[in-house]
Each structure stands twice: as structure tokens, then as C-alpha cells.
């Protein structure tokens, strides 16, 4: 039988998708194609009852013919049940009814704080990043966050301290979420191009590795001492139906824009009738 082939960008989206539970109300934020693709994967595979809230249009459960490279586009309204008002989405989160949001950062610290504002901080940034959108408040109140970065390997993404905290993780120098009076649960999972992480006791921990990645490499690319699960595993390979959604919904391949070109050369394969992946064996 022909082996099924897939690339890291596809697998990455699928790993993100698996952090969603069925029945959740989930939001991806704008400018986040991997998280966006992941939500369609979840909705069409294991989480049919989730409510998918588009990241800038706030359309509910649309069925786009393709995902455009911008988040506020009518392509993302097609087939939507309804379009929330701006304020309805944020109020939903503020009162604790938004179950999950995806957040990324040019810098992410071990508590899951993220910096999307400025490398080098403000008022004098070395690199002025785009900014946090609604993350500063949403991260405080959403029930659980899934973080992601596609730039772990750079060594600059996972840092001991963010130069600026845009979105809240489990604690900052000013205190824990509880001490800060914040109701949301904080980061529950993180996916990078190297592996999958969780946050036991509010601190980042490596749970799963992509099969072409060595543990030493992950530790070296991480700017702090990284906790590693005792039962470290390989990321479970994509299922055919998950891959099919990635490919059918992201026809323009906008997810790839998040990756360094070299990462996109990472190809994997598994035989179509096997549950296990040959490359992980």
C-alpha cells in the first residue's frame, strides 16, 4: 500500500487541534493560520459540537472554501450560523464562558507568559512586534489557553523571561493568576515545531517529541531548564481524516507562512493501514 506522506506544518496543526475538547467554545485570534486550521480539523473530526469562533470576523462555525492570508475577510463568513459582534466575543470571555483560545508569542516563558509586543521591551524596542490584539484581557479570563510557536528551534522563542508580558501565563513577577485576581485557567498546552508540552503546576513541561527531533536539541533550544515528562512519547501521527481536513480547508497553504522555510522540508510518512508511524518506530 502507498504510504501516507505529510509535512510538519500539517502535523503541527493536527497536534494543535487535539488540544481542543468537544463542546468547547474556541477562538483563534487573528494572524494565526495554524491555530485557525487546527480549529477546523477539530470541528470536523473529534469535536463536532465545539463552537468555532473565527479570529477577527467572529463568525460562528463558518465553512470557508479556503482560508485567506488575512483574518478579517468575507471568505471566513461563508456558511456561518451567525457573526458575533466584537463586544459579544470579548464579553463572553470576560464572564468566563470562552473555553479555549490559541495564543502565540515571539517570546514565551516557562510560566506561559508571552510577548507579542516588543523584543527588548518598551519604550525602546529592538524589534517592535505587531501587538497583542485582545490577548492581554482574553488570556486573563479564557478558561484554558493553548499556546504555540513555530520558532522554538531559533533559541529565541522559549526564554526565561519575556522582555514584555503581553498575554498572561500562570504567574508573573507580580504574582500568580489568583493573586492578580484573574479568573481564567491559563495555558494548558503548548505545541512547537519540536514537540508538545503541558503545564503541570503552571510550569512548562515537554510531553511529546516529533519523531525527527532529539530531546537534547529541544533542551538546547530552550532558554531555561525545561521539565520533561517521565513518560516522554512521540507525537501521535496524523490520522487520514485529520490530514484530509488540513488539505481541504487550507487550500492556499497559509499555515506554511508561520514556518521557517527549512522546517517545511520536514516530511513524514506512514503506511496507510497502520496506526503507528514508521518514522516513530
Amino acid at each position: 500500500m502507498t504510504p501516507v506522506e505529510f509535512t510538519i506544518d500539517e502535523w503541527f496543526c493536527i497536534a494543535l487541534a487535539r488540544t481542543i475538547r468537544d463542546g468547547e467554545i474556541v477562538f483563534h485570534g487573528f494572524g494565526s493560520p495554524c491555530a485557525q486550521v487546527a480549529m477546523y480539523v477539530a470541528k470536523r473530526t473529534h469535536a463536532p459540537h465545539m463552537v468555532l469562533v473565527e479570529g477577527s470576523t467572529y463568525a460562528l462555525d463558518p465553512e470557508p472554501a479556503f482560508i485567506p492570508a488575512t483574518s478579517n475577510d468575507w471568505a471566513l463568513l461563508r456558511g456561518a450560523d451567525h457573526i458575533l459582534r466584537f463586544e459579544e466575543l470579548f464579553d463572553l470571555a470576560a464572564r468566563g464562558q470562552l473555553d479555549r483560545m490559541f495564543l502565540s508569542g515571539a517570546q514565551i516563558d516557562p510560566h506561559g507568559n508571552t510577548n507579542v509586543t516588543a523584543v527588548g521591551g518598551l519604550p525602546r524596542p529592538r524589534v517592535k512586534l505587531g501587538g497583542g490584539g485582545g490577548g492581554c484581557n482574553l488570556s486573563a479570563t479564557v478558561r484554558e489557553l493553548t499556546l504555540w510557536t513555530t520558532r522554538h528551534r531559533s533559541g529565541r522563542a522559549l526564554v526565561a523571561d519575556c522582555d514584555f508580558i503581553t498575554d498572561l501565563g500562570h504567574r508573573t513577577s507580580l504574582g500568580t493568576r489568583k493573586e492578580l485576581g484573574l479568573a481564567g485557567g491559563g495555558p494548558g498546552a503548548m505545541v512547537t515545531e519540536l514537540g508538545v508540552f503541558d503545564f503541570p503546576d503552571g510550569r512548562l513541561r515537554l510531553r511529546e517529541l516529533f519523531p525527527d527531533v532529539q530531546l537534547d536539541h529541544v533542551l538546547a533550544a530552550t532558554g531555561f531548564e525545561l521539565d520533561v515528562a517521565r513518560d516522554l512519547r512521540a507525537v501521535a501521527p496524523p490520522r487520514a481524516e485529520e490530514l484530509a481536513v488540513v488539505r481541504s480547508v487550507d487550500r492556499l497553504g497559509v499555515r506554511r507562512a508561520e514556518f521557517h522555510p527549512r522546517e517545511l522540508e520536514r516530511r513524514f510518512s506512514r503506511s496507510a493501514h497502520h496506526a503507528s508511524c514508521p518514522c516513530c518506530a
Binding site: 463568525a59 488575512t70 466584537f86 470571555a93 492581554c136 486573563a140
Partner: protein, 306 residues
């Protein structure tokens, strides 16, 4: 004397409308990212050489970047400025921020919403749930703290924010200034209610009954001036009229990497003879093409990849 907002005919030229904006004003920008930004008004601000503006809004792109590049801006209080994962950082904004040429008062969509709500509700402040613990709080010495009289909880308090003027691009309007928009509205409704003045451009002026039938989102008593400006959101989208012009955004991003590039772009597109010259410079064929998004999915995908 009757207030100007109650006049039965508020049609103005682009130039007369932008004359309502003064140097140093706090300007709210409608739309978001690549969608329905008030670009004709933005270009006219550049033509009239407005200075020291304070820009407020949610997640924006070329509107803010162009104004910063043109030297019109003293402070930026947006939640995001850029071109997403696709075209990346906003070059002019980034450069001005890194050189300290503008004050970066980055905000959060929800914090801004609560500040607008305070103005809309006639209240001096609103509490917010988040922000505590973040760097955003430290950027805003004007924020305060409040203790809930019932629960004793301490919350961040943000002051009312009533922009001096909001600039919004819509689909159609009647001469009185009743405006039809289609969703997403982003913050347009809130800007309209919270701002001291409201200037609206539309694709088309239309008879009152036609606008009412389509659906009035901004009633005329909120509007100070209405200007017909077809393609006035270009290069951002104004569905169902036209998709966004990704190639033009890329042209801007490429140009905006240097001061010379910005100058060349402004000379080529902006500082000429008004919007007609702008649309000429962009070219009829390109503009017609953007209206073809609805012809087929394939055509739309083609435009989205241009």
C-alpha cells in the same frame, strides 16, 4: 441654533470633511486589518499634512502604517499594527517605534472597548477584568484601580475615551448621513457612539429609502459629514464590493521598509490630485479585478494569492 449633526444634508467633499480634523486630535480608525479601513480619509489626512495625531483602534494595518510613515502621528494606541503572518510587521510603524519617533501606547482590544463604552455610557471610567500583571498596564499610567463596593475585589479601572473624531468607511449612506454597513462591524458602532465627531465615507450615496431598506447601522444624528468615495477602503476590502488588494499591500510593505520608499509611495499614490489620481495610479484593471471575487471560488482564491 441647530447643531450641525441635525442638518438634513451632510454631504461634504473629502477635503472639507478632513478639514474637521485638527493637528493633535485623537483619531479612531474604523474597520480592521485588511477590511474596510477608511483609506480615502487616511490619504486625505496625508494630503492635508495633519500632524501629531493620536491613533486609536483595535487590530489595524496599512491605515496606521501609512499615517506613521507620512509623519502624521505622535502616538499610536492600537492593539495591533501589522500584516499578520502573511506580510509580517508594519515597516513604518516598526521603524518609528524603534527610533522613538512615536509614542507606542499599545492597548488591548477589550481595554479599548471598555474605554469607549465609558464614553458611550457617559461614565468617567469602566472596570476591566484583565490587564493586571501585564506590560500593557505599565504603558498606561492613566489607568487606575477601583475596589468593588460589594465584593471588595480590586479591578483595573480605565478612563473614558471619547475620540475627537472617528473615521469610518461604509457601503452606502443617504444625504442626511444614515449609514449602511455590513458585518463584521468591528468597533465601528462603538466609535460612532463614543466619538465627538464622526466622518463617514461610503461607496455610494443612495436615496434614503434604499439605505433604510439595506439596514442603517449608524443613524444620522451621530454623523457630522458623509462623503461619497468609491473604492475608499482600497487597498483593504469592502465586501460585497471588492476584495482586499494583497499585491498593493505587498507593494506598500516593500516600499515602507525605508523612508525613501515611503516618499516614493506617497508621491506615486497619495499626494497627487485627490482620490481620482489615486485610483488612476492603482489602475482600472486591478480595481475591476478585485470586484470579481464573487465570480467563482477559483477567482477569489486567485485574488487572495495575488
Amino acid at each position: 441654533m441647530m447643531r450641525a449633526r441635525m442638518l438634513p444634508d451632510k454631504r461634504r467633499t473629502l477635503a472639507d470633511a478632513i478639514a474637521l480634523v485638527r493637528d493633535g486630535d485623537t483619531v479612531a480608525l474604523g474597520g480592521a486589518l485588511s477590511y474596510r479601513e477608511p483609506m480615502a480619509l487616511v490619504r486625505e489626512l496625508v494630503r492635508q499634512e495633519r500632524r501629531d495625531l493620536r491613533l486609536v483602534g483595535s487590530a489595524h494595518g496599512i491605515d496606521v502604517d501609512l499615517l506613521v510613515g507620512a509623519g502624521a502621528v505622535a502616538a499610536v494606541e492600537q492593539s495591533y499594527v501589522g500584516f499578520e503572518q502573511d506580510l509580517g510587521l508594519a515597516p513604518a510603524y516598526r521603524r518609528a517605534a524603534e527610533l522613538g519617533l512615536i509614542a507606542v501606547r499599545e492597548t488591548c482590544c477589550y481595554t479599548l472597548l471598555q474605554q469607549l463604552r465609558a464614553a458611550e455610557y457617559g461614565l468617567p471610567f469602566m472596570p476591566v477584568r484583565g490587564v493586571a500583571g501585564t506590560g500593557i498596564l505599565a504603558l498606561h499610567p492613566e489607568y487606575g484601580e477601583i475596589t468593588c463596593p460589594f465584593t471588595g475585589q480590586r479591578l483595573v479601572a480605565v478612563p473614558a475615551l471619547a475620540p475627537d473624531v472617528a473615521l469610518i468607511h461604509g457601503l452606502s449612506a443617504d444625504r442626511r448621513g444614515n449609514v449602511h454597513l455590513r458585518r463584521p462591524f468591528v468597533l465601528d458602532e462603538r466609535f460612532a457612539h463614543a466619538s465627538r465627531q464622526l466622518i463617514v465615507t461610503v461607496e455610494r450615496l443612495a436615496p434614503a429609502d434604499e439605505v433604510a431598506e439595506a439596514g442603517i447601522v449608524l443613524p444620522s444624528f451621530l454623523v457630522d459629514a458623509v462623503v461619497e468615495a468609491p473604492l475608499g477602503a482600497h487597498p483593504t476590502s469592502c465586501y460585497p464590493q471588492y476584495a482586499y488588494d494583497r499585491a498593493h499591500l505587498r507593494e506598500w510593505v516593500d516600499a515602507a521598509g525605508s523612508d525613501d520608499g515611503v516618499s516614493d509611495y506617497l508621491a506615486r499614490y497619495v499626494t497627487g490630485d485627490g482620490e481620482a489620481a489615486y485610483l488612476d495610479a492603482v489602475g482600472d484593471e486591478r480595481l475591476r479585478g478585485l470586484c470579481e471575487w464573487k465570480d467563482s471560488t477559483e477567482r477569489w482564491m486567485e485574488l487572495a494569492s495575488a
